[in-house]
């Protein structure tokens, strides 16, 4: 045992112990850093804007009736990255739990017999946006999906609201008008699908939407259920062309796609890759108008620009 000399100063307390006692009240934690720990809530437009501010942003709006597959489309585009089935790579998401909340009931692990997507309800705080950042060709794209409830579009069709009342509809870089393949397969309600889209396009046209900066799409969902009824396929092919022409009259860059996001038919192209390509294609934008630049030659020097030979 070592003997301490009588006149030696007492050993100082270990510095670590002193610091721990003094710093308990000031211990830094995640809540003090200014970074919020996200739950499953979606983003408001202001919050989502910070993702667009980073660059490579696109705002995607699904416009369709209740249970036509709007939320499923967003959730499945996310899920394909989790499953490694997408051509792009998952980079990040600020609404990861929001996606999980929406996709989980469709997974076998949920214990459900049939895949299900929870219904979207109106959010009083305008938390209607899902965020997914994907990497492709060395660049990142920040995709902001709107999760507007079908009720919104029912109100528009019923003239209870105008598309101009919803800023997201004019802000959309990508706007897809959805036809529900499952309803088209049902002869009893088939005409209501076409009628709904026709009236929706009329309301948009009256509100002078979509803008030139929006790329539009006529999108059939649940194609696998449509294909089970050949007469429904004929019906849709006849009306798809007319609806597309009507859409192109108000949005010249419009195109059409068909998807089957939850098909079990391995021989059927589910169309989701094409949909992702459409989502990722460069957004349109309005160019500045040309300024009046003086373009003709200055007349004082016009003759000198091409001097004539003296004879």
């Amino acid at each position: 045992m070592t003997e301490t000399p009588a006149d030696a100063p007492p050993p100082a307390a270990p510095p670590e112990a002193t610091e721990a006692v003094d710093s308990v009240a000031e211990a830094p934690n995640a809540f003090d850093s200014g970074k919020r720990l996200r739950g499953s809530e979606l983003l408001t437009p202001t919050e989502a804007s910070t993702s667009l501010a980073a660059g490579g942003g696109r705002v995607i709006v699904w416009a369709g009736a209740r249970e036509s597959g709007k939320t499923t489309l967003s959730a499945e585009l996310y899920e394909r990255h989790r499953q490694g089935r997408a051509k792009t790579c998952f980079a990040s998401s600020r609404t990861l739990l929001g996606f999980e909340e929406r996709i989980h009931p469709s997974r076998a692990a949920s214990g459900r017999v049939k895949p299900h997507t929870p219904r979207t309800e109106n959010d009083p705080e305008e938390r209607e946006l899902l965020h997914l950042c994907v990497a492709t060709s060395g660049a990142e794209a920040n995709l902001v999906f709107s999760d507007l409830p079908g009720e919104t579009f029912r109100r528009i069709v019923n003239n209870e609201a105008s598309p101009a009342d919803f800023p997201l509809l004019s802000r959309a870089d990508k706007l897809a008008f959805i036809a529900d393949g499952a309803l088209l397969a049902d002869p009893g309600v088939r005409p209501t699908v076409v009628s709904f889209i026709n009236q929706l396009l009329d309301r948009f046209d009256k509100a002078e939407l979509p803008t030139e900066a929006t790329q539009s799409l006529l999108l059939l969902t649940k194609q696998d259920q449509l294909l089970a009824r050949p007469e429904a396929v004929d019906y849709w092919e006849k009306h798809e062309q007319k609806l597309l022409e009507k859409l192109q009259a108000i949005s010249p860059n419009a195109s059409a796609l068909r998807t089957a996001a939850r098909t079990n038919n391995r021989e059927l192209e589910d169309g989701m890759e094409n949909l992702m390509e459409w989502v990722l294609s460069s957004p349109s934008y309005e160019e500045d108008p040309d300024l009046p630049i003086f373009s003709s030659l200055d007349t004082r020097f016009e003759r000198l620009a091409r001097p004539k030979r003296l004879r």
Binding site: A53, G55, G57, V59, D288, P292, I293, R306, P307
Partner: protein
């Protein structure tokens, strides 16, 4: 007729300019962004002009020089603002700020510098970071408008007649009031009236002289340019234009024109350059090898102002590099390094000549500051 500068450009175009980086395009969010952009426009300086324009044209690395300024300015209006130089929003802010500066302070030398850099960026094939922004057109309009204003604005003589007249009268004593009554009631009013008349005439002469000096300056410029146009020989090379190598002509023509031009943005400049290229037997619309032209012209370009050039001064960078290394192997690599590493675009003789003219004006304006 001078084109009208669109002073409301920022408020009119901001919703479209900001579309790619924000969801909220109306109301408070955009108003705050506009205030930030206006503040940034006020804080632009000559020293950071090249970085600002390069960043506005998508050169993200240049943002490192500006991001602190952008953050500090933005946080005065939005305490939560946080961005990195590589993000899209700060580039949009700077692009909008440069455009706003050009249209609201269109007569300043700083605006001319920004515009010349913007047109250099267009020459290099860079695109504005703001989708659809036509910053090159704004720059061209600013230069045209500022040039016309410079050429037509009156300039005072170093010595004013009205000042000389005032001094003379101030040196005389006042007529005493208690002196000869005849002096006060009859002579004094005449003298006072005479003094007022002489002073008014002196002011009028000064005003006429201002206008005459301006038109004399412009007329002198036009006469010198006309004489240059009719001259068969290149003064720099001491050789007839037709005897020069075609790829050297654009740079030599631009250099000579810069020496007899008052200010950039002259509408006739391209005509003068094109005419000289024709006179030398060349074709202004024919593509040329820029660096070959630099190598052939460099020995005649001792007067190019000192400096290394840069990303938006690529031709000056090439000329200086060629002269520093006496045309020896390696000068092209040095020039490439100084212009930021990327290739020069393929260009015709007139575009090369116009670009070199721009860069020479830039060197003049930057050295004046």
């Amino acid at each position: 007729m001078p084109e009208t500068i669109p002073k409301d450009l920022l408020s009119e175009r901001l919703p479209d300019w900001y579309r790619a980086v924000s969801i909220s395009l109306d109301g408070g969010h955009l108003e705050t962004r506009q205030q930030i952009i206006e503040a940034l426009a006020e804080s632009l300086e000559v020293d950071s002009a090249e970085s600002a324009v390069a960043y506005a044209y998508g050169r993200k690395a240049r943002g490192e020089n500006l991001i602190e300024l952008i953050r500090e300015t933005a946080r005065e209006y939005d305490g939560a603002f946080a961005a990195e130089a590589k993000d899209a929003e700060p580039q949009v802010m700077i692009g909008a700020a440069v455009a706003h500066h050009l249209v609201t302070k269109s007569r300043t030398d700083l605006s001319a510098v920004l515009s010349l850099f913007a047109l250099s960026a267009e020459f290099r094939g860079f695109k504005p970071a703001i989708n659809g922004q036509k910053l090159g057109q704004v720059a061209a309009l600013q230069l045209r408008s500022a040039g016309e204003a410079r050429r037509s604005s009156p300039t005072s003589s170093p010595s004013l007649l009205s000042t000389a007249v005032s001094k003379k009268f101030d040196a005389l004593e006042q007529i005493p009031e208690d002196g000869n009554p005849a002096l006060n009631t009859q002579v004094a009013p005449w003298v006072t009236a005479a003094q007022a008349s002489v002073e008014a005439i002196a002011k009028r002469v000064d005003s006429l002289e201002k206008s005459l000096r301006a038109s004399h300056r412009t007329t002198t410029e036009q006469l010198e340019q006309t004489a240059w146009l009719l001259e068969e020989s290149c003064a720099l090379a001491q050789t007839a234009w037709v005897d020069l190598q075609p790829d050297a002509v654009p740079l030599l023509a631009a250099t000579e024109l810069s020496e007899i031009s008052l200010y950039p943005g002259q509408p006739a400049a391209e005509v003068l350059l094109a005419s000289t290229i024709y006179k030398a037997g060349g074709d202004p619309s024919a593509n040329l090898d820029v660096l070959k032209g630099v190598q052939r012209a460099a020995k005649f370009l001792d007067g190019v102002p000192a400096g290394e050039g840069g990303e938006l001064l690529p031709l000056v960078a090439a000329v200086v590099a060629c002269r520093e290394m006496n045309g020896r192997s390696g000068w092209r690599d040095l020039a490439k390094t100084r212009r930021g590493g990327s290739k020069l675009p393929s260009a015709n003789a007139l575009r090369i000549s116009s670009q070199f003219l721009r860069e020479l004006f830039l060197m003049q304006l930057l050295s004046d500051d």
